[in-house]
């Protein structure tokens, strides 16, 4: 039965890809006195409300959206999670 699912897409820079934003934030935190922040990666969080027949369908459809539009697979990785509805 079709209902609306909350889906999170977490997009992060791929391993080995330079992340100047993350690096700059890390330094800023260091300057503010936060010690022990070993690394910072700056990514994006896309939160969708998707109508689908079940959580698996919601995830599958969102994965397709990621491939096509939401993420840039050349430089980004992404993970799709259906949150408890």
């Amino acid at each position: 039965m079709s209902r609306v699912w909350s889906v999170d897409v977490r997009v992060t820079p791929r391993e080995g890809i330079l992340d100047p934003a993350g690096e700059t934030i890390r330094r800023a935190l260091g300057n503010l006195g936060y010690e022990g922040v070993h690394s910072v990666r700056a990514g994006r969080l896309i939160r969708l409300e998707v109508e689908a027949d079940g959580p698996e369908a919601a995830r599958a459809s969102t994965e397709k959206m990621c491939e096509q539009l939401i993420a840039n697979p050349i430089i980004e990785d992404y993970v799709v999670r259906v949150r408890e509805g």
Binding site: G16, I17, I74, I75
Partner: protein, 768 residues
């Protein structure tokens, strides 16, 4: 770190074994391999193979273009630094110099448009500020597929954002460029970026590595695994696999670039350096070897000292990484500490990774163990070069032979008006506002004329003087006739610069072609370079540098051969600069230069008839030079209220552009095209939309036309009054060859302004 006789080059454990396949994978031919064996006297290590591969790639070694480039003039009274340095430098008077260079980033942008364009901008900025010049302007020359294709729109949108975000962040205005759309560039767009910088001439510094024992320092971003073999990649055709090959993608960091820019200029101003160079294509390898080659010295590096971003990097990777925002510099030994202090102040990383030597060797160690030892001179200068046989392609021959008579006349006035509308709606002609409003065009407060005019005009530090610059190229014309296309690029760029009132002084160029192994491409390359050389000589604008980008093709289809010219000129009195668009109602409209029956290769044929055919308009170099003199002297004399060069779309489009571009909103006009100077038997289409060279639309105050006429006589340029500027709200009344149209100027403006935004309305940078 001096060499002891006991040392020898050691291969690394785990290095792949040498094989013909490995050599081929590195883009080296069997003959090139033989050459390497000969000059090394032994088999190179894997790391050494990587070094040769990069340095003897087309990108670094100019294998196929070097012999052709000798046809270009490189000397002239204004040239302070010709080709061979990070950027060329010219003298613009008052003790000031201008450094400038153009660079392509075609393949990276085809794979990742935003980052590809951004990192292209970053590289060319570094080339300029490593000469000691403060970058004051960026130009972007763009060639894409049709905007009707979603893929082209995606690439175009990403590239514009990438160029914009990078320059905007660094604080260098992007003040001009080109944007051409044709299916020939669909999968392999061309992204050429030119940077211009200003420097006090006494502060000019070069990429040199002199003085035995002097410290060699790596500065800026850490080295990662990105872009390994980018130079080789740029020297191959793009295939689907390349599009899938991630490691080449580099991410730009304009923030670090800005810090590098300020720190470098401070180091240079305080005279702390011997030499400095960008780690661009082929990274540490090319910067290190080129600096040593210029000084006839050697360099001894230990990669163990190189700051890296990832663990377990091999010397091979560190030498070939193209991580962005890095520089190599040689410090004056007594100032090594001061250099570090400046860099620290700017929060930049600096590491001394080696020393200058006098043994002429490029020696690289890994924790003391020698991994690379190659004589610098042959590595840099003796890259094998090739002279090939060229031949015109059958497709070009066929296109040239097309009978254009069926397209040379119009049945009705309505057809003429529709053609004008189609042309103004063509993205290659239409307003570029959508592009340049995404660029900061006014930061640094030097912009006197920004994008939208024939040439951008910037004030110079030397009192009262201004710099004018433009980029131009025409792939279609070059495809139909390479030599004419090469001449045309130079002539048009000079004309654009001269329209602003500036004397053209020098050029940089970017040669975007397909694979030189194809006879038809080699024919195009050789012809275009020959034409460029002729035009540069005739116009006395020597070439101070440039870039060659070959292998621009996908699926065996080369792009149009596209030489892009970046032209610089100087206006002695900035108050005498000339705008492009109509200024005031009632001003007289004049046309200088002769219209011939030349519709071959025109935008009219392409946009209205889907045809790329015929002979492109001829470039008479004597006429081109006379027109430039006429424009420069006329401007200095204050004879013109406006001057606009006719190019894509011909006279009718040039007039429409003058009308819609008026500063206070569109102005109408009344013009008789038949009154313009013309050769014999010019067809209707030739009169309206032909793209004959060496023509400009001029205006002057009512009654002041005699001065235009006098300058015309003086320089042997045919001129004629053709009409009058109208008021706001009045139509553009154009008559010629038996046709008459009177579209509202506001309507023409609407078409012209909406063409690109309407096509791009769905793109919105979702992943940025």
């Amino acid at each position: 770190m001096t060499r002891t006789s006991l040392e020898r080059v050691e291969a690394r454990l785990g290095d792949p074994v040498m094989s013909a396949a490995l050599v081929a994978e590195h883009g080296l031919s069997p003959e090139e391999w033989e050459r390497i064996l000969e000059l090394m006297g032994r088999e190179p290590t894997f790391t050494e193979l990587g070094v040769f591969s990069a340095m003897w790639s087309e990108h670094c070694g100019y294998k196929n273009s070097r012999p052709l480039l000798r046809m270009l003039p490189t000397e002239g009274p204004a040239v302070v630094q010709g080709p061979g340095e990070n950027a060329g430098v010219i003298d613009v008077g008052g003790g000031w110099g201008v450094a400038f260079k153009i660079e392509s980033h075609n393949h990276p942008s085809a794979v990742e448009p935003y980052q590809g364009a951004a990192t292209g901008s970053g590289g060319i900025l570094r080339d300029v500020f490593t000469m000691g010049a403060r970058p004051v302007a960026i130009f972007d020359s763009l060639h894409f597929g049709s905007l009707d294709s979603p893929q082209s729109r995606y690439l175009f949108d990403g590239v514009v954002r990438g160029v914009g975000d990078y320059g905007n962040c660094v604080g260098v205005p992007t003040v001009g460029g080109e944007a051409i759309f044709d299916p020939a560039y669909e999968k392999n767009p061309l992204i050429n970026v030119m940077c211009i910088g200003v420097l006090p001439l006494e502060r000019l510094i070069r990429g040199e590595a002199e003085g035995v024992g002097n410290p060699v320092m790596a500065v800026g971003a850490r080295t990662g695994r990105d872009g390994i073999h980018g130079a080789t990649f740029a020297s191959e055709e793009l295939d689907e696999e390349a599009v899938d090959s991630r490691p080449q993608v580099q991410v730009g960091d304009p923030f670090t670039e800005k810090l590098l820019l300020e720190a470098s200029l401070e180091l240079i101003e305080r005279d702390l350096l011997i030499g400095i160079q960008d780690m661009g294509a082929a990274g540490l390898t090319s910067s290190g070897t080129e600096m040593a080659a210029r000084s006839g010295s050697g360099i001894d590096l230990d990669v163990a000292y190189l700051p890296v971003r990832e663990e377990g990097m091999t010397p091979y990777e560190m030498l070939l990484s193209e991580s962005q925002e890095r520089m190599l510099l040689v410090a004056k030994p007594e100032h090594e500490r001061a250099v570090r202090e400046v860099l620290e102040r700017w929060d930049l990383q600096a590491a001394t990774i080696g020393r200058v030597t006098d043994d002429g060797m490029f020696r690289v160690r890994e924790d003391g163990v020698v991994r690379v030892e190659i004589p610098v001179k042959p590595l840099v200068d003796d890259c094998p070069t090739y002279v090939r046989e060229g031949a015109m392609s059958p497709a070009t021959a066929e296109a040239r032979a097309v009978d254009l008579r069926p397209y040379s006349s119009f049945a009705t006035d309505g057809e003429v008006e529709a053609a004008l509308g189609t042309l103004l709606d063509s993205p290659s002609v239409a307003s570029r506002r959508w592009i340049y409003e995404q660029y900061d065009t006014t930061v640094q407060t030097n912009t006197l004329e920004g994008p939208g005019s024939d040439a951008a005009v910037l004030r110079l530090p030397a009192e009262g003087r201004a710099l004018a610059a433009a980029t131009d190229g025409n792939g279609r014309h070059t495809w139909l006739d390479p030599r004419t296309g090469g001449r045309a690029a130079v002539a048009e760029a000079a004309r654009n610069v001269a329209c602003s009132g500036a004397r053209p002084l020098a050029v940089t160029n970017c040669l975007n072609f397909g694979s030189p192994l194809r006879p038809e491409v080699y024919f195009q390359l050789a012809g275009a370079v020959e034409g460029m050389g002729e035009a540069c000589r005739a116009l006395r604008t020597p070439v101070t540098g440039g870039n060659v980008s070959l292998y621009n093709e996908t699926g065996a289809q080369p792009v149009y051969p596209t030489p892009v010219i970046g032209m610089l000129g100087v206006i002695e009195d900035l108050e005498r600069r000339v705008p492009s668009a109509f200024q005031r109602e009632d001003d007289e409209i004049w046309v200088a230069g002769r219209t011939r029956d030349e519709i071959g290769g025109s935008e009219y044929l392409a946009a209205c008839h889907g045809l790329v055919a015929g002979r492109p308009p001829a470039v008479d170099l004597g006429e081109a030079a006379a027109l430039v003199d006429f424009l420069v002297e006329g401007a200095a004399d204050g004879a013109f209220a406006s001057a606009h060069d006719g190019s894509d779309g011909g006279l009718a489009v040039a007039l429409a552009e003058c009308a819609v571009g008026a500063a206070g909103g569109p102005l109408g006009c009344t013009v008789d095209l038949d009154a313009a100077p013309a050769g014999a038997n010019v067809s209707a289409a030739g009169r309206w939309f032909g793209e004959s060279h060496s023509r400009v639309v001029l205006t002057c105050r009512p009654g002041a036309g005699e001065r235009i006429a006098a300058h015309g006589r003086r320089h042997g340029v045919p001129v004629a009054r053709v009409g009058t500027v109208g008021g706001p709200g009045s139509p553009c009344r154009l008559t010629g060859a038996g046709h008459a149209i009177a579209p509202a100027a506001a309507e023409l403006a609407r078409i012209y302004e909406e063409a690109i935004p309407l096509r791009m309305s769905e793109e919105a940078g979702i992943t940025s």
